[in-house]
Symmetry: C2
Subunit: 106 residues, 2 copies
DNA sequence: TCTATAACTTACTTTATGTAACTTAGTTTA
DNA sequence: TAAACTAAGTTACATAAAGTAAGTTATAGA
């Protein structure tokens, strides 16, 4: 009765994407590089968790961080190639949601 | 500086999929209807959380529950049409993971 | 010197998840 | 007939993750 184990690469992808906020952060960055505070207000995430997520995403090489020496200093976050390659995932979810998700208000 | 709000249907889809275990449960059911204990051992989720997730997924009409009066009674879970329509999402993640995810062991 | 700003960080509270033992109902087994 | 077994949960308790709001750091302008 042993079942084939779930592919570890798939599992790793799922565990990344199914952390709260991660998918929304990536989705948000699909529209171009943005600053910490922009991402924060766009998706309504707390500074604490956004900071954690961005570090993890940097470490996974999904997001890159760039310091811009303005005044006060500004930090720009953008997607790497790996990050951009996730666009089809987000678009597939987007399409599905338009077809299948019902809101309370409907 | 107001940004366009994120589409509420998309947000709802994301909040469903980014709950821990939800995507894996759906993925598991893509290979056919299964019993509580099969899902549990296949993906390594605790009975408590699996029970919570299955209730939510039933409520969202993604999963359906069927009582089979064997002995002892068996409960079969399977995907509804809405659930099956999520297959492209999982396959897109699966494909991406094969191309981009690196494991520790590599 | 005082105030302002962006990007965090910290301390503390609330919520979610994990673990393991327990429940229920019908069924064998001793 | 009573003890034991099974599937599918549920409960109580412990740990981890997320939310909130105040605080920190560095630079600069009033």
């Amino acid at each position: 009765m042993k079942q084939p184990a779930i592919c570890p690469k798939f599992e790793k992808a799922i565990s990344l994407l199914s952390q709260r906020w991660t998918a929304l952060v990536i989705y948000q960055l699909l529209s171009g590089s943005q600053r910490f505070s922009e991402i924060q207000s766009a998706i309504g995430i707390s500074g604490k968790v956004l900071s954690e997520r961005l570090k993890e995403l940097e470490q996974q090489e999904v997001v890159k961080r760039e310091v811009i020496p303005e005044t006060p200093v500004v930090i720009e976050y953008s997607l790497t190639e790996k990050g951009k390659s996730m666009e089809p995932i987000l678009r597939t979810i987007e399409n599905w949601s338009q077809q299948w998700v019902k809101l309370e208000s409907e």
